[in-house]
């Protein structure tokens, strides 16, 4: 069983924070297929969060095919995340390191690199919707 928390200053909507925490736990293998998520009531009683927010997050996770709700029993993980993509991390990291040394060689400082990455990442994500 995982526990949720909320970061009030993140600017990320609370339901999205819950979704991200489940995805994160799936990616790290903290949650596995068949594991049960806490009930809506357990989450609200612990985190002091709106029950509709928790339901919304669970519905979204169900829609993504990550969990399934079994009436009267609870919400269960149906598949894990990142099992295959973990193997891809190392070559991608090498590519990034190569790019970072190019950026440094071009005279960019840390903040410029970060700003460039974030703006490129943002327009990339927005273009893909």
């Amino acid at each position: 069983m995982i526990e949720f928390h909320l970061d009030a200053r993140s600017g990320v909507a609370p339901y999205m924070q819950l979704i991200q925490q489940v995805r994160h736990a799936l990616r790290l293998g903290v949650l596995k297929e068949g594991d049960k998520l806490p009930t809506v009531r357990e989450v609200v009683a612990r985190v002091a969060i709106n029950p509709n927010t928790v339901s919304k997050a669970y519905r979204e996770l169900e829609y993504e095919g990550l969990v399934t709700a079994r009436p009267g029993l609870g919400t269960f993980v149906t598949r894990t995340l990142g099992g295959d993509s973990l193997a891809q991390h190392e070559p991608l990291r090498k590519d990034l390191q190569r790019w970072l040394s190019e950026a440094r060689a071009a005279g960019l400082d840390d903040e410029s690199i970060e700003a460039l990455f974030l703006s490129a990442f943002r327009s990339f994500s927005e273009a893909r919707g």
């Binding site: 009030a8 993140s10 600017g11 009531r41 009683a45 985190v47 002091a48 509709n52 927010t53 927005e126």
Partner: protein
């Protein structure tokens, strides 16, 4: 579904002073609604109109599809400073609640008192602020209302008591689907527990809507100085400030901002509320000139 709270042209005057003027609202049932705004904006007036303690000067207000009636079993109200009877014990509060309310759920009330660790034999005057708030909430909730109206329920509580109170309130809404309207200055709390927000400023509704929509629809834009009039359709400026070289805008937009010359930042609920409460908001200037 019936709306928990709806208003049209709702106006309440005290003599010449308008506490609420021309407010229109449509709050769906089953929500936890946060009511925010500066002191004197009309929050308590709106709540008292909603529970039938006040009558509107003009306009219409409906609660759960009906005209509000004071003492309605369908509406629970906890006034500011969580009023309890100092001379009565916790158990006596419950007995009185059972006597006055035909729909009283005695088992729930006793369970909740036990859960919150209150001593039934304790006099209410000897309780801490947090315990008084829990007692007042228990009494209001045990009559099994469809709507709970809470006026600044956590204002005087320390952070731990506040969190405990909000947990209890969220358990209630999870168990029974009770609609809640609560006023508070603590926007960070409201961001956790509310899924609907109403911002009242100077006796008028400045913005009302689903919290997720508000968060997704508001952005801070920072870029070189320019006239915000050229932003395009569907983008409304909530707040703006300019230096010689730079413009900073808080905008509400239904579509993503794709102009790459703006740096687009997310806002949390507090930023959004403050932008609507701030004096440089264009509508507010107009209101101030009346």
């Amino acid at each position: 579904m019936t709306e928990a709270l709806s208003a049209e042209g709702l106006t309440k005057r005290y003599g010449r002073r308008a506490a609420l003027s021309d407010c229109s609202l449509a709050v769906p049932a089953g929500r936890v609604v946060g009511l925010v705004g500066p002191n004197g904006a009309g929050k308590s007036t709106l709540l008292q109109l909603a529970c039938g303690l006040l009558d509107p000067t003009s306009g219409r207000i409906e609660v759960l599809g009906e005209r509000p009636v004071s003492g309605s079993p369908r509406v629970g109200f906890v006034a500011q400073d969580t009023p309890v009877y100092a001379g009565l014990t916790v158990a006596e509060h419950l007995r009185m609640g059972a006597h006055v309310n035909p729909s009283w759920d005695a088992e729930f009330a006793e369970r909740r008192i036990a859960q919150t660790g209150l001593d039934p034999a304790q006099r209410a005057g000897k309780l801490s602020g947090g315990q008084r708030a829990q007692l007042a909430l228990t009494v209001a909730a045990a009559k099994q209302p469809d709507l709970l109206l809470l006026d600044e329920p956590v204002a005087s509580l320390d952070p731990l008591a506040r969190r405990t109170f909000l947990r209890g309130l969220m358990e209630l809404t999870a168990d029974r689907g009770t609609s809640v309207v609560m006023s508070s200055h603590l926007v960070a709390d409201l961001e956790r527990v509310c899924d609907y927000l109403i911002v009242l400023v100077a006796s008028q509704v400045r913005v009302a809507g689903e919290v997720d929509d508000l968060l997704a629809g508001h952005h801070r834009l920072v870029g070189r100085r320019r006239d915000p009039a050229g932003l395009g359709a569907g983008i409304a400026v909530v707040e703006q400030s300019h230096t010689e070289v730079q413009s900073t805008l808080i905008v509400r937009s239904t579509a993503p901002i794709d102009d790459p010359s703006w740096q687009v930042d997310r806002l949390d609920l507090e930023d959004i509320v403050l932008a609507y409460m701030s004096e440089s908001a264009p509508q507010w200037v107009l209101e101030g000139q009346r």
